[in-house]
Amino acid sequence: MSATTPPRERPRQAAGPATEAQHQPTAKSRHSQRWLAWIFLAPTILGMGLFTLIPIVASVVLAFFRWDIISAPTFVGFDNFSEVVQDPTVRVSFLNTIAFVVVAVALQLGLALALAIMVQEKMPAWLRVFFRSAFFFPLILSAASVSIFMRYLFNEQFGVVNWFLSLVGIPAVPWLTTPGGSAAVVILVYVWQNFGFSFLLFIGGLASISVETYEAASIDGATGWRKHLHVTLPLLSPTTLVASVMAIISALQVFDQPYVLTRGGPGDSTRTAVMVIFESAFQRLEFGQASAVGVLLTLIIMAITAAQFRLSKRFVFYQ
């Protein structure tokens, strides 16, 4: 059953035809149900209207104005969008964000899938519990705190990462002072903290593949990697689709890690789309431009979500 279609007649259906006549809801009961529903919905609906729906509309409207809070807003048409598209910093930030999403999501999903398959194979139960908890653990930490200690770990002179590399004869890597190094650190720190989420999704997907399927595959002579290639991966495709879309959407919004680790530097090398929203709104007071960037980001996210729906109809193999 789809989550978006509530089963309207469910209580009556469940009652069965024999008892249906007795429990026809009276007009009075329907009336009081409606009242109660609106009272129950009031906090959520009013709150969402005020803090989500109105801001969405306002954000779109604001994208067509120039406004610095101090003087009155002036209508500028598509100027904000054309400025944003031509601004080299904004451009670089969007390109950075896209490159970040591609690399980080690929790493995150690959790692999560490999680990999930390895964890679900035969092993003592306590060991499986340990691995699952360990991989889940970084998810519960704050991205800001993680970035604080990771900045020390990746320090060029006294950082632990370079110390380990020196043990195998690799000279000190200038992690946080070069564009490439900074980008690598932001990606690694992000993936370190987030792969556990995709891992959980894959574990759930693997658990839903039936035992019989594997038995049939092993009777047919499939073993080891071939079994995973021909049985696990196709049957896991719904999970893979959901996991990729969720990972992409969350990676598109990356902010905490680059803000704390690098402040977007050196230069603009690790500046992301959301950092541009933050800086143009709250440091340069260009609220219209910030909104324009926000609208562009939302359009990208909506396009990806729409693509998920189409893809899931076409390519995904459902058991």
Binding site: R30, Q33, P43, T52, L115, I140, I148, V160, I301
Partner: protein, 300 residues
């Protein structure tokens, strides 16, 4: 979200510990494949837990030793100087109080509002129910970073600039929590409502005495998720609070790192470790709930 089944969250999701079945009928005592697999998993676990162990262990070194190599991963001789120092450098009590107040009130607010709205969507009949629920779900697609500018203006207009309420109020209405509670209530048998109706109970009494008591586990999941998310939140507090007396923990720690430089990393790390304690408690007692909640609605 497209393939969600309508059973409840708690107790119904398949326990994952069974794992995959053995595929080879003849058991061998030792296999290289098994050994390599476990070694790889142990390596991954070490890389995952190592940085956290280093943080804990280094926070328990004296500030002057904190950046000495080789690094330490196990605190053999704990030294608590840095923990004293972090209380000197940072008004930790106030930060914890702010974080606890903000997070606690958001969690309680979400639990109540989501339970009520979720119940209305699951069991009460009214016109426009499907359309309204679709709108609620659609708001989940819009990231908080996009609405933050108008929310900032709105908060200013309400005279709530630079207050804790500016962090709390906008976070209480929750689309995900409402979705979760709706799924939860739909997982409870509808026969309960029919039995109550036969007994002549009003819709309010049906909720109050039949469904509300059964909703506690679902509400706990919503509360734990909200607590974990907002305790760690950085972006909104960075924008919506201005003076240090309204900072939450992550904000205070990031500014401490900026102020202290690299001289006394153990002090900063002591702050980081202190800020992790609530998350650790949640991890130890609510891991299952967190995992079920985080992956709810993904077609698991």
């Amino acid at each position: 979200m497209t393939t969600t089944t309508d059973h409840g969250l708690a107790g119904h999701s398949p326990r994952l510990s069974e794992g995959l079945p053995e595929t080879s009928p003849n058991r061998r005592r030792f296999s290289w494949a098994f050994a390599i697999r476990i070694m790889l998993l142990l390596l991954a676990a070490a890389l995952t837990l190592g940085p956290v162990m280093w943080t804990l262990s280094t926070s328990l070194r004296s500030p002057s030793e904190s950046f000495k190599l080789p690094p330490s991963f196990i605190p053999w001789n704990p030294d608590f100087t840095s923990y004293g120092e972090v209380f000197q450098q940072l008004n930790i009590f106030l930060l914890v109080l702010n974080s606890a107040l903000v997070t606690g009130l958001i969690a309680v607010g979400q639990m109540i509002s989501a339970a009520l709205a979720g119940y209305a969507f699951a069991h009460l009949k009214f016109r426009g129910r499907g359309a309204l629920f679709s709108i609620v779900l659609a708001t989940m697609m819009v990231p908080v970073q996009v609405t933050i500018v108008p929310v900032f203006m709105l908060i200013r207009g309400m005279g709530l600039s630079d207050t804790l309420l500016a962090l709390i109020l906008p976070a209480i209405p929750t689309a995900f929590g409402t979705f979760l509670m709706r799924q939860y209530f739909m997982g409870l048998p509808a026969e309960l409502a029919e039995a109550a109706a036969i007994d002549g109970a009003s819709p309010w009494r049906t909720f109050r005495s039949v469904y509300a008591p059964l909703a506690i586990p679902g509400m706990a999941i919503v509360g734990i998720l909200a607590f974990n998310f907002h305790w760690n939140e950085f972006f909104r507090p960075l924008i919506l609070t201005i003076s240090e007396q309204n900072f939450t923990l992550p904000l205070g720690l990031v500014s401490l790192q900026g102020n202290l430089g690299t001289g006394s990393i153990s002090v900063v790390l002591a702050g980081v470790v202190l800020s992790m304690i609530p998350a650790l408690v949640v991890f130890m007692f609510g891991q299952r709930a967190l995992q079920d909640g985080l992956t709810a609605g993904t077609g698991k």
